[in-house]
């Protein structure tokens, strides 16, 4: 935790500490997923994150709940919801109302498997009060098709239904069939609901597989001994977007060379996922499909920038492709993918032709990057600070790195410190460091220097919002602005235009 450089007289010390803790937690909640990282094991990450959650929940409960409104990752969102519901007794009625709204809004955004897992955790933790039951019931009621969930997330739905005593009356009605399917399987000779019936028929009929969700059909295909390639080709129309991306290579491998390409439309994929996909390909393939891949990356970046496109002026970026950006076995090449996605996103955000991206390895071709070599961040930052072709200094300098500057250690921080103090005291260039890796030992993302705003990042698409948060970490804005910002985000998130009644800070 770094002390801000300038402290206003009006802010008390406790306020500043509180504001710092909030930023620390937000950074952690965006980056940490409890998975193995390049430098720390999964257990270290979970232990560190667990402490941070408890610390913030006990000391700043309102902020803890309000962080549900930010772009935090799914792992932390589920964790926060669980912790809030577990300790509902510590909140006042007013807080509980706000929390309830935030939880409902966040659950609606989470992917269903994660929500079902969360419900299972609540059941295991013995959290079963009227409020929790209502939250689960409302979420289930909002599901478009419980029959689909009953097939695809069978154990999860069953556990949730049992936990909240979901009434599944016998007789007719959509819920009764789901109840029969979950709790009294094999009783009904056939189901009215198409997918439930397809599941029943899939036990003996291969044709029914085409009607089932991909993950469920996979199991039946194995049972029927279907060939994987044949199965994938048939199941393609019913796959989700990410399933299609995941099985793309396997399907491409069996396609005959002159057959019509049944390829996924890459341009509709989210930017960071697309970058991960690109990096999973070999160099030859990337070079062969250069036009297609970089076109898709550009399109995804343009879509992600939305209204911000072209509004950032001259942008220079330092992107980390050192060996540590290879991530871990669980988060394979994640930091590098974030850097690659940021590269394209910043290109779209910058004014046309006013973007310059520098990789730490000195690579010139963004499409062919690979995680290799040391991290000479200091020298690259110097290169990036050089004025652009039009002779003007950049308006923004964005550094995408895990913060382990090691050739030599700490040079980047020193360069930025001296440069800020001696060469750019008027702050013409805004420097922001975004870090995709949670440092378990520091309870935060690793920083380069005290004066540089650092924000955690999970998906490159969130970059514009993150830069807004990172502003608060620079220490030039006070806690009051930070809390006002949180309030605005909460209000927008829970769908209330007005700001009263949602106050995050007392």
């Amino acid at each position: 935790m770094n002390a801000p450089e300038t402290v206003r007289a009006s802010d008390t010390f406790a306020d500043l500490v509180a504001a710092e803790d909030v930023l620390l937690f937000v950074n952690a909640a965006i980056t940490a997923t409890g998975q193995r990282e390049f430098r720390s094991a999964a257990a270290d990450q979970q232990l560190s994150l667990d402490f941070l959650h408890t610390y913030v929940r006990v000391n700043y409960r309102r902020v803890y709940a309000a962080s549900l409104a930010l772009d935090i990752n799914h792992h932390n969102a589920a964790l926060i919801v669980r912790r809030l519901l577990e300790t509902a007794g510590e909140a006042s009625p007013g807080e509980r109302r706000t929390e309830g709204r935030l939880i409902a809004a966040r659950l609606a955004l989470l992917p269903p498997p994660r929500v079902y897992r969360l419900f299972g955790e609540l059941r295991r933790a013995g959290v079963n009060n009227r409020r929790t039951r209502a939250i689960v019931r409302e979420w289930l009621a909002a599901r478009p098709d419980l029959g689909h969930d009953a097939v695809k997330y069978r154990a999860g739905l069953k556990r949730a239904a049992r936990h909240i005593h979901l009434p599944c009356p016998e007789g007719s009605g959509p819920l009764s069939e789901v109840g029969e399917f979950l709790f009294r399987p094999g009783r009904l000779p056939r189901y009215e609901h198409g997918m439930l019936d397809a599941w029943r028929r899939a036990h003996y009929e291969q044709g029914a597989l085409a009607e089932l969700p991909f993950t469920v059909a996979e199991g039946f295909a194995a049972k029927h001994g279907m060939k994987r390639e044949v199965f994938l080709k048939r199941a393609a129309p019913r796959m989700t977007r990410l399933e299609r991306l995941r099985t793309q290579e396997m399907r491409a491998a069996v396609r005959r060379p002159n057959a019509p390409s049944a390829e996924v439309d890459l341009t509709v994929m989210p930017l960071t996922r697309l970058a991960l996909y690109v990096l999973s390909l070999g160099f030859e393939q990337r070079a062969e499909r250069r036009a297609e891949l970089s076109g898709a990356l550009r399109a995804a970046a343009r879509r992600a920038t939305g209204a911000h496109a072209g509004s950032w002026g001259r942008v220079h970026a330092v992107l980390d492709d050192s060996f540590s950006s290879s991530g871990s076995g669980q988060k394979r090449r994640r930091p590098l993918a974030v850097a690659l996605a940021c590269h394209h996103l910043l290109e779209a955000l910058a004014a046309p032709g006013a973007y310059r991206g520098l990789w730490t390895s000195g690579a010139g071709d963004a499409l062919l990057v690979r995680p290799w070599g040391p991290t000479p961040l200091g020298m690259r930052v110097l290169d990036a600070l050089e004025p652009g072709p039009d002779g003007a200094a950049p308006d923004r300098l964005v550094i995408v790195s895990d913060g382990w500057d090691n050739a030599p250690a700490g040079l980047a921080g020193e360069v930025l410190r001296v440069w800020r103090r001696r060469l750019d005291p008027e702050r013409r260039t805004a420097v922001v460091h975004v870090n995709p890796v949670y440092d378990a030992e520091g309870f935060d993302v690793r920083r380069l220097a005290a004066g540089v705003a650092t924000a955690g990042i999970r998906d490159a698409e969130d970059l514009p919002a993150l830069v807004e948060i990172a502003r608060f970490a620079e220490g030039r804005t006070g806690p009051a602005e930070l809390y006002a910002y949180l309030d605005r985000r909460v209000a927008r998130f829970t769908g209330e235009g007005e700001r009263e009644g949602v106050g995050v800070v007392a």
């Binding site: 070599g373 020298m379 050739a407 030599p408 700490g410």
Partner: protein
Amino acid sequence: MNRLELTGLTARPSQVWGGVRLVPLVREAPVEGLRLHREVYEGLGAGIVELGPRTRYVSYVPHGLVADWSGEGGPGPETGRKSAAYGTQFGGGGAPRGIQLPPVPHHRQAKRRPGDRLRFLPLHLALEGYLSLHFGGPSTAWEEWSRTALRDGLSPRAEDAYLGRSVRGLGDALRIFEIHPGQCGVMVYVCDALAAAFVVPHPDDYRLLHASLVEDLYGELVHQHALYGAPVPENPVRIGGEEHIRDLGELRAAARVQERAWEEAHDTLFSRELLDTPYAFDKVYRMKSFTLWRFLPPFVRDGGGQHIGETITDHKGQVAYLKTFRLSDPQIRRGHLLRTLSGAGWELDRAAVALGSSREELVRRMRAAGFSALLKGSV
């Protein structure tokens, strides 16, 4: 030749993890005409080595190195197949992995292979050189020496070493180390004490052999430092005199100065004990313009580290390959005692004078160093 010449190798900024500091050594250009390949042996490192007729030892032999001075370039498919005859080759794409090792002992520590190739067992050469120091025992049958000493010499002679995996933090430090472009070597420091130096002729060889450092042997001191020592500071750079910096060019120059400062600091401060020590070199094998040596330190007791090791040098005496092992203090003491005794013709009184102490003191020291069996009980 009595010193190690590391010309052509430049130290780059160190990478620290816990108590382990790894300093990469980078070559401007790879050494011409010599490549090193690795062969991995089956059996989790348990191997038998045949030293001569009816002399064998059982030891930890995780891998061997094959020096190739045929100048055929990288480990192509043909050379890969050749060297995979007794083990696994990581370099060759088409080479089969994990060939069964026939249950025959390794014949000698350094063994010529078909073509211009030499297989040798890394660190075994060096350790054997240390263990066999005055192994024959007293050259003159003075009455103080026991009958065992006169008959069998120092046999059995044993020393302890630790596997790299059991050195706390070393495995992690090597795993997360970011290899520099052109890197041909590394210096391993544990608690800022030089634990090992490793140099190869070519960057590609280094990339394949980097992970093998964790299977190497390390001295007792290294193990203890890693176990009980505190994490070492990373020494982040500090740009001084910032008030004189007026533009970006001067800032860049100041940053360059920091980079150079580290190189000089490393050469003069860190690796000095390795480079400034006169060694006794012992030629093992001659391969055209390259020579494989093993070396022993002078066993002086000045508090600094003493390293044994093996090296391949070119005709100019520059190091193409180097692997060292840091001796612990008791090991240095034993080496020192043996050197002094043999220098004094194994005569206790003369040796005591050379050591500047009394005969009783020398006997006490010998017994404390584990050489009781050499002396008669009545001495």
